[in-house]
């Protein structure tokens, strides 16, 4: 309790702030709706209200505050509206919808679960490609001085390039050679997740000190044996730490890669929400992406504990 207490207080404060902020953000729309229904509102023309301060409008019309939390297309949806949208698009759409899981046997394309699945599969594929490439490159860098000197500076430069600038083009290029769907997004994910793994693994593979490598040499170990029996086991903590960063980056890559593709996924859902003013939909997709990120990082953490325990380490 003593550790969770401050966190709970902060989360509660965050929600209170969210509700409070939603009032001035949505008050104009609420007043317009109230005026149409014939309720007297303070500055009674829309032109005057447009020029007025939002906080002043709230103070002048305290009766409309509940309306500000119940708008159809709010500028800032209240937490319960986002929760309602999540419930609607994750559970109700599958249970009751015409195209839902119960009626049609497959996930509804109007529900969030299908889009989350599309994003998750692109993230997973991209993460696996990126992590493999990163480990391979790190092994090459540790074994070849030339490779380190020529590739490492470019690996660093490649990370200062805002990769998302490439996203639409990668998609167009791959489309014109007949590739579409999962792979273009996965390539963007892989590009983002590969760098943390390279840096972490280079550090990890170099973690054994001179004494340990010398000992391997006195046992007449070949380069391959040094790699598999000493360097790779020693690099595991570094690998898992960098994989946690990499998997979060892979998710960002998949979401950004979905922006220009329009083939479904949480990113496409956000873009659609922003086109049609469905703010609750954007927030719901955002929260689901956040939950996905948390679950992915937690899964890597679990794998780390398992691997370290099997290796006999103090996990």
């Amino acid at each position: 309790m003593s550790r969770a207490g401050p966190v709970i207080i902060f989360v509660a404060a965050l929600f209170a702030l969210w509700y409070a902020a939603a009032v001035p953000m949505n008050i104009r729309e609420a007043l317009t709706a109230a005026e149409r229904e014939g309720v007297a509102v303070q500055p009674d023309t829309a032109v005057e209200r447009r020029d007025a301060n939002a906080l002043g409008l709230v103070l002048a019309n305290p009766g409309q505050i509940p309306d500000a939390w119940a708008q159809d297309r709010p500028r800032l949806p209240a937490p319960h509206q986002v929760a309602g949208e999540l419930w609607q698009s994750v559970v109700m759409e599958e249970v009751e919808g015409r195209r839902g899981l119960l009626r049609s046997g497959s996930l509804s394309n109007r529900g969030l679960l299908l889009h989350a699945w599309i994003t998750l599969s692109a993230t997973a594929l991209g993460f696996v490609i990126g992590a493999m490439a990163g480990i391979a490159l790190a092994i090459g860098i540790v074994h070849s001085k030339t490779m380190e000197k020529s590739v490492m500076p470019w690996a660093i430069v490649s990370q200062t390039v805002p990769i998302v600038a490439l996203a639409p083009m990668i998609v167009v290029v791959l489309y014109s050679v007949g590739l579409q769907g999962l792979l273009p997004k996965a390539i963007i994910s892989a590009y983002l997740s590969f760098f943390p793994v390279v840096v972490g693994m280079v550090k990890g593979l170099r973690a054994p000190d001179a004494m340990q490598t010398d000992l391997m040499r006195t046992w007449d170990a070949s380069g391959w044996q040094v790699l598999t029996r000493l360097r790779l086991p020693a690099s595991m903590p570094y690998l898992f730490a960098s994989m946690k960063i990499a998997v979060a980056a892979a998710l960002v890559g998949a979401i950004v890669g979905e922006l220009p593709v329009q083939g479904g996924g949480l990113g496409a859902r956000m873009l659609a929400g922003s086109y049609y003013g469905q703010t609750a939909q954007i927030w719901a997709a955002l929260l689901l992406a956040a939950a996905l990120a948390a679950v992915l990082v937690a899964m890597i953490g679990g794998a780390q504990r398992l691997a370290l325990r099997r290796m006999g380490g103090a996990a």
Binding site: R3, G5, P6, V7, I9, F10, V11, L14, M25, R75, L76, K145, T146, K149, S150, V151, M152, P153, W154, V157, Q159, T160, V161, P162, I163, V164, A165, L166, P168, M169, V172, V173, S176, V177, K244, A248, L251, V252, I255, V256, L259, P260, L266, G267, M270, L271, G273, S274, G277, T279, I282, W283, A285, L286, A289, A290, A293, A294, V297
Partner: protein, 281 residues
């Protein structure tokens, strides 16, 4: 066929030169250390050029580097306008505001244990989230011009910067803090003279991570709406017109800006944390 042989011969020749430069007798000279990655980059560019010409890859898939360079040179005024809009107005102002706010918050977090227990777990959770997803919301709130791009950048850089700065402020050992206390130093003296300097490597690590995030935030935010200039706008419209050489020219601007920005921060870091082992190498 002859192009393939030429490409292979070039690759082997330049790679052999690289091996000699990197491991041979000259490998400790400064110019040799600079030349190795440069040669590698030039090799890739030449191979790219040969491959595109020999295989007659259509322009709409992959233009050769020479043509990208030509397009870059002839549309400098347009690209300069995009650079000012996206990098100078959007990314830099957001970067300054976000990193500044995160720095001040970190000092407050460090001062008050309550904030440390309550805010820090939330912040490290937020730092791992796909915050770029808030871009459509912020564009809706702050309009299409650079203000909304700066807002996206602020949100993106805040949490990584906060987490790094707090970690840096915890870097001093109990012995060092006790020594400061035995000299009669108050909280602020201890902060300014011991703990902030000790935190600098971490702060600069955060600042370097945030340079890339700032550019990503500013460019992605333009995908959700922008005035008729900016790098993100240029990329999306040029992809639509299948003017791939223009897309690559815009990417070149973003790459140069990103590398320059990162290099600038790294240069300042070298000046400020000259005492740190990683800088003395």
């Amino acid at each position: 066929m002859s192009a393939a042989i030429l490409a292979l011969a070039l690759w082997l020749g330049l790679w052999a030169l690289n091996v000699w430069l990197a491991t041979g007798p000259l490998s400790n000279r400064i110019w040799a250390r600079m030349a190795v990655p440069l040669l590698f980059g030039i090799t890739i560019l030449i191979l790219w050029e040969i491959a595109v010409r020999a295989l007659q890859v259509p322009l709409v898939i992959l233009p050769p580097p020479s043509q990208i360079g030509a397009r870059f040179a002839e549309s400098l005024p347009i690209l300069w306008g995009d650079f000012v809009q996206t990098i100078l107005r959007g990314a830099l102002s957001g970067y300054a505001i976000g990193c500044g706010a995160a720095f001040l918050t970190a000092i407050a977090v460090d001062r008050f244990v309550f904030l440390q227990r309550g805010l820090l777990p939330l912040a490290s959770f937020m730092a791992a989230l796909p915050i770029v997803g808030t871009a459509p919301i912020l564009v809706m709130w702050f309009g299409f011009d650079w203000q909304s791009k700066a807002a996206v950048v602020v949100v993106m850089v805040f949490f990584p910067m906060l987490v790094n700065t707090v970690a840096g402020l915890a870097e001093t050992s109990a012995m060092q803090r006790d020594l400061m206390k035995s000299w009669g130093a108050g909280y602020w003296q201890g902060l300014v003279k011991l703990r902030l300097p000790a935190a600098m490597p971490f702060i600069f690590n955060g600042l370097k991570i945030c340079t890339t995030l700032a550019l990503i935030g500013a460019i992605v935010a333009e995908f959700f709406g922008s005035p008729t200039l900016g790098l993100g706008f240029r990329i999306t419209t040029s992809v639509g017109q299948l003017a791939l050489d223009m897309v690559w020219a815009a990417i070149l601007v973003a790459a140069l800006a990103g590398t320059g920005f990162y290099g600038l921060v790294a240069l300042i870091e070298r000046g400020v944390t000259f005492w740190h082992p990683s800088q003395r190498g």
